[in-house]
Subunit: 352 residues, 3 copies
């Protein structure tokens, strides 16, 4: 059983927060006009300089703590609305209107976060004032030839680990999404291979039949064997990959961004290669996926409310909860800086 | 002076909560469809099996803490909406869909509360996972021959002890219910006999005249002496009994159910034997009683807000506050398991 | 840097609260009907006896803590709505309806606060149950011959020190009130003399030119030198005084009343002597002043939200923040009873 309190909705919840690259927004959402976002309870402001380079600062003027996101870009700097102080993209103070002496001073800095535009998303590095030696996660097959690539975004009312578990969880599909792709009858015995390594955990499902429902019939009209992997990759990637016989390949990569302890943004990149016209894929598969995500959002909201009402989580797990506890463990290890080298493989039986 | 903080509106407030039987709902409110209720901050789910037997479990699935009240009854079990786990009326796990091994496991239990249908109400025992050796309180004269019996329910925005004191308090009636049955002039000296024993406290009012106002004239058209008792019986019964000369007998039994530290449900059973047609009793006396209860709800709400604003109660009492402090003492003794044997009787003068 | 938590919005925040006289309301707002007000988180009730003498008590009946402001005045006393207890203007209990014995008792008292009608405002002394040896602050030039005197009131969503700093702060005017009386270009170097003494701090601005914009042109049509002082006087006075050449004198005295840790009422008395008909002054200058105050209220609200979001203030200051830190220091000294004798004078350069 795990206990976690969600009592402090406004606090920056360091506890289970793994350092690394997170998606802050779609790249297209951020322009010259400063805009506020939140990462794990921390208010941030984004803006672009006239050349289009993005910047991310903590959204609090060093002077009287006004939100910089109320201000505007002047030259390459962001100017506070209250007293006109200006900061550059590294957070250094460049202007104190009215002051005769030096402008720069260590106490007049605002913390800055590294950021990158990549594959349609604006990524931010969670640790302030450092130049990361890693790059943001590269989303596989996105925008590759032959692949229809669709980006969607949805608010998931739960903490990152609950959203990740839900996104990668097979057993709930027969209930929360009853009728859509799995049913709670005529179950078949399959094998799940769970591979854990330093920064990720993957479940491979062996022996699964083509999922029923609309999506399955569309992607694999003649049925056949299904190859299916669910993956969580630190700090925030939840990925579901299906290969349906020789026909179709669909890989959904969700970048999860915790906003508050009870709200996580899910930025999904869906890449599909299938013998179906793109217009039909868009018209049928995408609304279907969004419908599923909204059903998940609903149950996550109820779960989150319950954890708040009862003052913490109290979960019991079975071996078919193949990823949930392992995701929690990885996040805790990453948050406390104790990632373990080496890997592990386990085989589990499950009725699907 | 007494101090109590109401700062934690969501917490299960063990402090002054006396163990025992409480009314959870009207029996008719609970059917096969699971329904959520709260007892002293604890979310519960009720349902009936196909034979109509009621069950009360803690409203939290042992697996991922989803509310069981979102689920449905399958056979005699309640099935969780998230992953389909099933629990019987004792809280034992009976089904984990997809799992190949054993279903039962001590960690997969949900706590269960004994419950009974009695006299129109569904009673629940506040201590989980025990078979109580007592029965729910038996409401006197309810549904007896010659007695019109009416059941009503009202939300009282205050803690149980404040609601009980208010319901049994004589001095406030001349102010909060001015003009309805007592006035703040031409007062008469009466005697109050206060009897305390292990599980209850009773005030007997001697020498009181027929209450004025509509209710009094209706029940005792020729006036005469009034016999009047106010009682509190652990853990939750507030009872007001009037015998007006030889004509009328009216006994109101309120079962008080604390939902949160600042909200208590009052389930009233009014039994009346009077020389008045039932239709008239219903048409006049009942709306009058509800009007009085709504006036009380209003002042209780203001009192509760005050206690929250000031960070706790700070009460001064006089000897004519005959029951309030004694109710608090009984509740505290019951909550801490220190009920005292033996009884006590005291006589007090009061102007009514 | 200063840290202060605003986590407890309902608590009586003794920390930075300086004892003394505060404006509770306009005198005309308080009549025979009891009315509730809040001073620094403490609920108070005001009423007048039939002769018009004002009284201020803590808004909580000693008996069951009901708000006395729900009650009414009976004779010279205030009567509680719940059980009819009566209290005089000193907070002494004068009546317990139904009680046969003595009414007075030390535990049945309600705390009382000294109060005075003066210059259109009802002032209250923040320390209960004492007869202050000082009088409320006397507002200079109010209602004097030749002076148009206007009283206004506005809610400022911030703590008293932030509201006082904002009201007396020059550098923000070029940004928050851009175009109204100062601009962020063609700045001129001036000198600021900052004088601190036991109970106040004053900034005198030397060499300032007539402010631009409508107000400046109205009050000093021929331009010329400007004499300008900003003052904070314990516990709650923020004062801005302008003498524009020989023509005009305008002095704005704001009495700041903290209601909660994040809300302060600003009671402004504006006294103007200028070569402009009063009708024009009223029609142009007053709406302009209210517009400025509303702009300040907006930025104060954002600042206050930020302090709450980040869990406290974290301010960096420069020497042109001439009054802010000194106001905080005076308030802290007054709150902790450590006011320092003696004075200090400092000269600062500023570009305005």
């Amino acid at each position: 059983m795990t206990k976690r309190s969600l009592d402090q909705p406004n606090s920056h919840s360091a506890e289970d927060f793994a350092p690394g690259w997170y998606v802050l927004a779609a790249s297209s959402e951020v322009g010259v006009t400063p805009k506020p976002f939140v990462l794990d309870g921390l208010p941030l402001v984004t803006f672009r300089d006239p050349k289009g380079h993005p910047a991310v600062l903590v959204d609090r003027c060093a002077h009287r703590n006004a939100p910089l996101s109320l201000g505007r870009v002047v030259g390459s700097n962001i100017q506070c609305h209250y007293h006109g102080w200006q900061f550059d993209h590294t957070g250094k103070c460049r202007e104190v209107p009215g002051l005769c002496g030096d402008t720069e001073h260590p106490k007049r800095r605002v913390r800055a976060h590294a950021c990158r535009d990549a594959q349609g998303w604006l990524w931010v590095y969670s640790v302030p004032d450092v130049e990361p030696d890693s790059a943001p996660y590269e989303i596989p097959f996105a925008d590759q030839k032959g692949y229809l690539t669709v980006r969607e975004r949805i608010e998931m009312p739960g903490p990152l680990d609950a959203v990740a578990e839900n996104a990668l969880d097979v057993p709930h599909t027969a209930f929360v999404h009853a009728g859509l792709f799995r049913k709670n009858k005529d179950r078949q015995l399959i094998e799940v291979i769970v591979r854990t390594s330093r920064d990720r955990v993957e479940a491979e499902f062996v022996g699964e039949q083509r999922p029923g429902g609309l999506v399955g019939r569309l992607l694999a009209p003649k049925g056949g064997e299904v190859f299916h992997w669910d993956r969580f990759i630190l700090p925030c990637i939840a990925q579901v990959e299906y290969r349906l016989s020789e026909y179709s390949h669909i890989i959904t990569t969700a970048a999860l961004t915790p906003r508050t302890p009870t709200m996580t943004d899910l930025f999904a990149t869906v890449a599909v290669n299938a013998p179906v016209p793109n217009a039909i894929l868009r018209a049928l598969a995408i609304p279907s996926a969004m419908h599923i995500l909204r059903q998940d959002a609903k149950i996550l909201q109820r779960q989150t409310e319950q954890v708040r009402r009862f003052g913490g989580e109290e979960f019991a797990s079975t071996e078919i909860d193949v990823l949930g506890l392992r995701i929690k463990k990885l996040l805790r290890e990453a948050a406390t800086g104790h990632l373990r080298e080496g890997g592990e493989e386990r085989r589990i039986k499950m009725l699907v």
